[in-house]
Symmetry: C2
Subunit: 190 residues, 2 copies
DNA sequence: ACCTGAACACCGTTCAAGT
DNA sequence: ACCTGAACACCGTTCAAGT
């Protein structure tokens, strides 16, 4: 009865488990998805999950990775469009998984795997923003300007904003970045 | 042996439990603090906690409330100082409890009590920012400008930024708000 | 009203055993 | 190498019983 040594290649099986995890994590949330229920959905014993993933956090990271890959791939076709439009697209694309975004942040302090992933995620998006700008930002303020843009993006994903405010937020962030990129450094007073 | 009907007034006892919860939540984190351990620290049975708080989330909210009250009280003495300085103060004051901030966000989708608290927290800080500005922001962009400032603040608390970037971020956000408050609405192109 | 000791239904994870 | 059934040590929460 137990189907051991199934002929399914490892990568394929892993992908099956990942697909089940992705669906449950997004629909029901990370906390509400127990390993037992997830295993049942995937048609395996809870134990089996641990053959393919170290723990639940690594499963979460793998799901996030898969999603981010797809996101960046889709985003590639948006190059050339205004930055505000790109931001708007990203926000609407990430809103459905806002719970996962919040969960990742909550687990940064708990899991090494999540912390590492989170750092990489920010590096990716900071690079993405930097690339889109018409000119280089004055070096002293660059990290802060990019950080503000990234945090605004994260905030817009994880918080409830109406459509109009979301549009304005994209415009505000894009304006700010363009301004910082095109204007020379002005020494702040005081 | 069991000390029932202790003569300690309800509010005082509640405060004791709250103090224990605050310490453990901050030092060890919310998830790492089990109700059992928390009860032991406070010198009671786990059960007793439920006499004073509906559940663990309500305990979390009560801790956050206590902290926010203290924060706003201390902040009151900063009125009149530059906005960037106030931001910097808030960030450094909130960084030690960054894990709690992240936890709150993660539980917004899980707990009604947390969701309600979170909404109130944002309302408070949006009002605080609005009050500090020299002039009214053009009404159409105001919610977005305030949202960007709030999200930047949250991001700076929950993410690792070096001191210099943190300073610059405060300056960027303050600049942005002042600019939006003093300049008339400029219709965006396109 | 307040508090206990004991239980309940779970949870993520691991282990001995099978093929 | 892969997978199972059964267990382990917990978890948040509740309940009957005491004062």
């Amino acid at each position: 009865m137990p189907r051991n040594r199934r002929p399914v290649p490892r990568e394929e099986k892993r992908e099956e488990l990942l697909a089940a995890a992705a669906e449950l994590f997004v629909v029901d949330g990370y906390e509400a998805t127990s390993m037992t229920r997830l295993a049942r959905r995937a048609g395996v014993t809870p134990n089996t999950l641990y053959w393919y993933f170290r723990d639940k956090d690594e499963l979460l990271v793998a799901v996030a990775d898969r999603f981010t890959d797809a996101l960046l791939h889709e985003h590639a076709s948006l190059t050339g469009r205004p930055l505000a439009a790109q931001l708007s697209w990203l926000i609407h694309r990430l809103r459905p998984v806002r719970h996962l975004v919040a969960t990742m942040h909550g687990r940064v302090a708990v899991s090494d795997a999540v912390r590492t992933w989170h750092t990489g995620f920010h590096t990716t998006f900071e690079a993405l923003f930097t690339r889109q700008l018409p000119g280089p930002i004055a070096t002293d303020r660059r990290p802060a300007e990019i950080a503000v843009a990234t945090f605004a993006l994260e905030g817009a994903i994880t918080h409830d904003l109406d459509d109009e405010t979301t549009r304005q937020l994209c415009a505000v962030v894009a304006d700010r970045l363009h301004h910082a990129a095109t204007v020379a450094t002005t020494p702040r007073p005081e």
